[in-house]
């Protein structure tokens, strides 16, 4: 019998039923691997449902630090009979199938090329616990205990984590550790431990953290000075505002009075959510909302108004597979068009593309700065994969000397000292960005009436075509100015000089970089550019110009990033070759390298590699 042999380099998948408390046990497993100094990348694969349907939790363990989805499963922890046929089929040859052996396994589930690891979970629980609820909960903990023996997952690390998890509820610590021991003992007594795949302590995570991108964005909004959030619940964005509230309740309470230095309004719909943000930002507060694709559609009218009226708005779009009755719990990068050109008339919006929780935090804080500086909507485009999974990340950093730059806002004193007449839409500095005033600033000066267009440089009503065009051209100039404000792309040069490049963004990053390593080993060298914002900076255009052909990796059907590059940078379409995956699971390195091989046309047979590296 073939056995997969690997140290610190495998994929383990847990097949559970949602609503059974498996999430915290699986989380415990991933965190313990992380605590052993081994890079880890857990992903929730869950249905659009609260209770009863199959759910999976996949953990990629990669000593080399590859955090993207790899594809394939080396060990399956199958505790859901409902999905067992599928789970068996998905296992790699030589893989390990961990199952509840209380009842003998159905003959249909026999495969000759995999290793079976049966632990009578139900039986152990029945013997130990009288309460049916406890039986269910501890079953999860027992399999983590068994894995500790089977994979050399350090038992003390698990014990420490249990202690931290139940801090303040100490009486739960001992029963949980006991459950871990039950699993550990059974596995140790009945199997040759460890299995072919196993863990060994390393020092490869440094001071990194494990964090969900949505939480990092919520926290970034606290640090970035957001005081008003208007929102409407929608998966997978809901936890952004929930995190903002959680952190603000901890960090933004006035110590004397207990009053809140923030306000959160759960709106009646997405139209109202963005309307509140527009109203608050118009009145001088930093304000944001978070939504997903269907919400962006509903917010589009207001986004247009904010663009034309030049109101600084921050919108977080946690992308998912569309449409409304689409696959709300699956990931995609498919809202680029919808976000970049949201609304009617000629509109374009600034987009930010974070790729890690640290970048979620940084870009969230920065988005408020950019919105104020550019007086326009800023849209953070993240996705379910980054937002709702624990992602390994550099730690969050804040510079305490930082003050908020509220952009071009006239104070009462500045209005008093002005000789000229105040004009809200006068391009005084020739960068397309004008000076605004907050309502209530000065008794006599600086008031203006806000409209979309149909006004002149002094915000006086006019339907003159010339005035309209002047304004629209100035907005274009402002969009040019934005190129020097938004984050620059990250260049990752190939080890050898090459005429080929690859462009990608957000959650396609880890898999693309891993694919480039694979290709480099085969002698194919490709320069990489991670785009971090729209409008595309000069560096993006230069990169394309410097290469003969450029692959564009993204997770949508239509190659939206590629098309935007063609349109916005006036690129010959033949030069940009599209690499796409949009099935709702994160794109894998294997998939990317296979597609690049195919597009290059050279190697017709791609070596399918079981493992990365």
């Amino acid at each position: 019998m073939k056995r997969i042999e690997a140290v610190n380099d495998f994929v383990i998948r847990f097949a559970n039923v949602n609503g059974t408390g498996s999430a915290s046990a699986n989380n415990l497993f991933a965190k313990a691997v992380f605590r052993m100094g081994i890079p880890v990348s857990p992903k929730n694969i869950f249905p659009s449902n609260i209770q009863g349907l199959p759910t999976w939790y996949e953990v990629r363990v990669s000593e080399k630090g590859y955090l993207g989805s790899r594809g394939g499963v080396d060990m399956m922890v199958a505790v859901n009979p409902q999905s067992m046929a599928e789970d068996i089929a998905n296992l790699e040859p030589g893989g390990y199938f961990f199952y509840d052996s209380t009842k003998p396994l159905d003959i249909r589930y026999q495969r000759a090329d995999i290793n079976y690891v049966g632990v009578p979970l139900t039986d152990i629980c029945r013997r130990e616990y009288a309460d049916p609820k406890q039986r269910q909960l501890f079953k999860n903990v027992i399999y983590v205990g068994a894995l500790s023996a089977l994979l050399d997952l350090e038992f003390n690390v698990l014990k420490d984590l249990i202690g931290e998890q139940f801090k303040g509820k100490e009486k739960l610590v001992a029963p949980n550790i006991h459950a871990l021991e039950l699993g550990y003992q059974y596995a140790a007594e009945n199997f040759k431990c460890p299995l072919g795949i196993r863990l060994e302590r390393r020092n490869n995570v440094g001071d990194k953290i494990l964090m969900e991108g949505n939480a990092a964005i919520g926290l970034g909004a606290v640090y970035g000075g957001a005081t008003v959030a208007g929102w409407y619940p929608i998966t997978p964005s809901t936890s952004v505002v929930e995190a903002f509230e959680k952190y603000a309740n901890r960090l933004r309470i006035d110590p004397g009075s207990g009053d809140r230095k923030f306000a959160i309004a759960q709106a009646e719909d997405e139209l109202a959510a963005i309307g509140m943000v527009v109203g608050a930002a118009w009145n001088g507060a930093r304000a944001f909302t978070a939504t997903s694709g269907p919400g962006v559609s509903l917010m589009s009218e207001f986004l247009g108004l904010a663009y034309f009226a030049e109101v600084p708005v921050v919108l977080v779009d946690v992308q998912r597979a569309g449409p409304s009755t689409g696959m709300p719990t699956r990931t995609q990068q498919s809202d680029l068009f919808a976000a970049a050109y949201a609304s009617h008339g000629d509109t374009k919006h600034v987009l930010l593309f974070p790729a890690t929780p640290k970048e979620c935090f940084d870009m969230s804080a920065q988005s408020f700065e950019l919105a104020d500086q550019l007086q326009t909507p800023i849209i953070i485009l993240t996705d379910l994969d980054l937002g709702m999974n624990d992602n390994m990340s550099e730690p969050l950093v804040w510079d305490d000397s930082k003050v908020y730059d509220r952009g071009k806002v006239f104070t009462a004193e500045q209005l008093d000292n002005m000789k000229e007449r105040f004009g809200r839409y006068l391009d005084v500095d020739d960068d397309g960005i004008c000076y605004r005033t907050y309502p209530g600033t000065h008794p006599e000066k600086g008031a203006f009436f806000t409209r979309g267009t149909s006004r002149d440089e002094y915000a006086i009503y006019t339907e003159s075509g010339d005035a309209y065009v002047r304004n629209m051209e100035r907005l274009l100039k402002k969009f040019e100015t934005a190129k020097s404000y938004v984050p620059a792309p990250e260049l990752i040069p190939a080890r050898q000089e090459t005429r080929e490049g690859v462009i990608f963004f957000g959650t396609s990053t880890a898999s693309t970089l891993e694919a480039l390593d694979q290709l480099a080993e085969e002698g194919v060298h490709i320069d990489a550019l991670r785009v971090r914002a729209f409008p595309f900076n000069r560096e993006v255009e230069d990169f394309i110009e410097q290469h003969d052909r450029v692959f564009v990796v993204e997770q949508n059907r239509d190659g939206q990033l590629r098309k935007m590059l063609i349109i916005e940078c006036d690129i010959d379409p033949k030069k940009l070759l599209s690499v796409r995956y949009y099935g709702g699971m994160p794109i894998t390195a294997r998939n990317i390298s296979r597609q690049i091989h195919q597009l290059r046309g050279g190697a017709t047979v791609t070596k399918i590699r079981r493992k990365a590296g």
């Binding site: 606290v222 207001f302 907050y438 309502p439 008794p443």
Partner: protein, 350 residues
């Protein structure tokens, strides 16, 4: 079309206690049709703000889309204004109010803006008890798109096109009452004596103050068969009573006629005096208010005046528990938790 209005004003115009003349509360010249009820409402708002001696720049005017929503340009020229999105004034007002609780918010809407496209936002801003004056300039039709019936048009009412409206109307005052509005009044653009004190009281009310003002559309909906025309409304007006309004700081010096049957003290200390009130009508009884509107409607009459007031209720900021200073005035020192807190958060994520 060009409008020229003389800038000259007599130097001895009366001024309010802040030193502002009435003209300081005016806006640019109206571009609405001559005789439009909306212009009378703008004039009443100007008069009310002048009499209340509000600092003009401390008022924010917010509107949606439509004839009514154009009017904020025609009053309070020293105030910031925002002509936003059709039916979405309430959300913009909500955000603006959250950003700065120290200003007065006047939201202007119409019957199309509030009873059709914006019915959802109207309902929810009412539930939030946002501290604002929400005024609907109600003419029963879509003026700016040339006279289609709106959702407040009565069954059988006919506009210029002559076709009787077959659909049940939405009564915004009744809705506001059902949704928990804490100040509800109805008036008529042609009744300045009633409208000005109502606006003053509504602005002084802490919480959501809703005014439905019947405002005839002279161009499209002022026919003999229309129930929102001048003639019909004048013939069918009924009032809960007459009232005057005494701002808190005028209480001592003002010399008001005695004889009021009831007085209501608002949260800021100002007082509403009710006169000639039907003694059985209690403006503090929500159920009775809803019934009264319905009773008058059944008779073909329009009940006007102060319909309901609940002077002490927590507004949206109090429900939220926000700090007393405007959120927009807080700087990084007050808002940013700093690197030490972040280090602790990092430590918890390892």
């Amino acid at each position: 079309m060009t409008y020229i209005r003389p800038n000259f004003r007599h130097p001895e115009l009366p001024r309010n206690e802040l030193g502002y003349a009435r003209k300081d509360y005016e806006g640019s010249l109206s571009t609405l049709c001559a005789g439009c009820g909306h212009d009378s409402i703008s004039a009443a708002i100007i008069q009310a703000c002048y009499e209340l001696a509000l600092p003009p720049h401390k008022v924010a005017k917010i509107s949606g889309i439509g004839c009514s929503s154009k009017t904020p340009t025609y009053f309070l020229g020293k105030s910031h204004g925002f002509n936003s999105v059709h039916g979405r004034m309430p959300s913009v007002a909500t955000g603006a109010n959250l950003a700065n609780r120290d200003m007065v918010y006047i939201g202007v809407s119409g019957d199309g803006d509030s009873a059709s496209i914006g019915l959802g936002q109207f309902a929810h801003v009412t539930r939030r008890n946002l501290n604002m004056l929400y005024i609907v300039e109600n003419n029963g039709c879509y003026g700016l798109t040339k006279g289609q019936d709106s959702a407040t048009a009565d069954v059988g009412s006919a506009s210029k096109k002559g076709v009787a409206n077959p659909y049940e109307p939405i009564d915004l005052c009744t809705m506001a009452l059902q949704l928990g509005a804490t100040f509800v009044g109805r008036s008529f653009s042609g009744d300045k004596d009633q409208l000005v004190p109502l606006i003053k009281a509504a602005i002084s009310h802490r919480g959501f103050a809703f005014l439905d003002v019947i405002s005839p559309c002279v161009t499209f909906n002022n026919t003999p068969k229309s129930t929102k025309g001048y003639e019909y409304v004048r013939d069918h007006l009924a009032a809960t009573g007459t009232m005057d309004f005494v701002p808190m700081r005028q209480e001592i010096t003002a010399n008001y006629a005695p004889g009021f049957s009831k007085e209501i003290t608002l949260h800021d200390g100002s007082v509403i005096h009710l006169y000639k009130q039907d003694n059985s009508y209690d403006a503090g009884d929500r159920n009775q208010a809803i019934q009264a509107i319905q009773r008058f409607k059944t008779k073909g009459d329009i009940l006007t005046g102060l319909i309901y007031v609940e002077p002490d209720s927590p507004d949206f900021h109090e429900i939220q528990g926000t700090v007393h200073r405007p959120l927009r005035d807080l700087d990084a020192a007050e808002l940013c938790p700093g690197s030490r807190s972040l280090d602790a958060i990092n430590a918890n994520l390892r």
